[in-house]
């Protein structure tokens, strides 16, 4: 499924998690090379500002205008209510996805027949564009929070299911055998061998699930068009207010990075035993 703990945030590769493959040699970066990333970001920001100033059209406001707008929105507090709604939706949806995803994933990983029965459907749901379910939820629940939460759950559950199932299934047989050799029962094997060894890959799924949950939240809210940050984006879009659209998008990106960062911290705590070289 997924593959190395990507350097920054999002990307994961299995080889580095299981650590079975030789650790890729990372050439040491010279000092100035380390600076290339930030410099490139800075250059992008300057270019944005300059082009925005030069064009002077409402659809492409300069960076300063966007940040100014974001400051205003935060200062006068209008955005905070929407932010709170969005974050609440996200928290509920992601929590439900976690419970669902982990349970189903462990079941599929442990019981071969459950996996055989459900794997294609889980894969189908993973590849399906989840937002198509939004109109269905909307007909059922209208503007209720459940509509958004439902979209978030659909966005984030299935990647967690698949990674968890895969992780549980691929727990090292030699360790399971070792435990059996000392007379361990199923519960001991699951609790002390399978789940710990599955944790890195499970957390990779959880991290992807978190990123997807944020997308589900925004996309769902944009579909419903009147609640949360997504609603603000839609309203601003209708009013041709690009400054607000970009300001809110900036906020959403910060939110997304924060969520991923939180999951990453949790991941590091749960998998502190992984050798540092396997994180790269």
């Amino acid at each position: 499924m997924t593959t190395s703990r990507g350097s920054k945030a999002v990307v994961q590769t299995t080889e580095a998690i299981t650590g079975t493959q030789p650790v890729r040699r990372r050439a040491r970066l010279r000092g100035w090379e380390r600076a290339v990333g930030p410099v490139s970001l800075l250059a992008g920001a300057i270019a944005w500002e300059a082009i925005g100033q030069a064009l002077d059209v409402s659809v492409f406001p300069p960076l300063s205008a966007v940040l100014g707008r974001l400051g205003e929105l935060l200062a006068d507090g209008t955005i905070l209510g929407y932010l709170a709604t969005s974050v609440t939706n996200l928290a509920i949806g992601f929590a439900v996805a976690l419970v669902f995803g982990l349970t189903l994933g462990v079941l599929m990983g442990v019981y071969r027949r459950v996996e055989m029965a459900l794997d294609i459907y889980v894969r189908a749901m993973l590849t399906a564009p989840s937002l198509v379910f939004a109109p269905i939820f909307f007909t059922l629940f209208g503007l209720d929070r459940i509509t958004i939460v439902g979209v978030i759950v659909l966005y984030s559950t299935f990647i967690i299911v698949l990674n968890t199932a895969e992780a549980v299934k691929t727990a090292p047989r030699s360790l399971v055998e070792m435990a059996r050799c000392y007379g361990a029962g199923d519960r001991f094997v699951l609790r002390r061998v399978i789940l710990p060894s599955a944790t890195p890959l499970i957390m990779a799924g959880v991290r992807l699930g978190a990123g997807r949950a944020v997308k589900g939240m925004i996309n769902g809210e944009m579909f419903v068009a009147v609640v949360g940050l997504g609603g603000v984006v839609m309203t601003a879009g209708r009013n041709f207010d690009a400054e607000t659209v970009l300001a809110v998008m900036t906020l959403i990106i910060v939110l997304a990075f924060m969520v991923v960062w939180l999951v990453e911290r949790l991941d590091r705590r749960l998998t502190a035993w992984l050798p540092e070289t396997n994180r790269a």
Binding site: P172, E177, M178, A179, R180, C181, Y182, G183, S197, T271
Partner: protein, 259 residues
Amino acid sequence: MIEIKGLNKYFPGRGRSEPVQALRDVDLTIRDNEFLTILGPSGCGKTTLLRNIAGLVPWDTGEILVDSQPVRGPSPERAMVFQNFALLPWSTVLANVAIGLEIRGEPRGPREAKARELIERVGLSGFEDRLPGELSGGMQQRVGLARALAVDPSVLLMDEPFGALDEQTRRLLQEELLRIWEQTPKTVVFITHSMEEAVLLGDRIVLMSARPGQVDDIIEVPLARPRSQHINELGESPEFASITTHLWTRLRSMQVLNT
């Protein structure tokens, strides 16, 4: 005493292919407190035989008796040491060594005391709180050995335990294993690919031939005990040379037959 009588083991073939016979009519009696080494070409069923004795996998026909009791599943009486160490990477050395006792339901205090004692015996004092990933291969296998010894088994099953180690570490661990075995005798079934190792460690060597795996010959090793102090001299001795030559002749004839 371990008695293996008429053991046959098949693995189902993939898809529609024929089942593979891994063991054919294996008869073998292993004496109490004997150090038995098993030597044979790759894929001849050594691991399979050991896992059968451990009770980890079923066989098709025949029986295995340990002290006249048929083997029905794993038992703490028969501890195993694995080629790839099989340590829990998320648990400390101490917890790894204690795991057999933990599974058996021993309370924390006594099991950790016992684990510490064994960690000391394999020369790892001071590393109790390290994780396996922080240890060298040789140290990891010492942990594996300590873990097996911690449950006080009467039989130690070892599947190429030193196969993944470098020459020097391997020699050190051989000496250490012999020392421990001389102090607290127990039955050891030791699989190896190395003729020298088979001779230096074993009272008897079981030669297996491949496809399907069967006992080809059993050879008594005429080297005197205790050996732990003078492994090096033994390695130079004429008895050692003649027996390895003999083994090599036998093994080579099997390879020729195989190819």
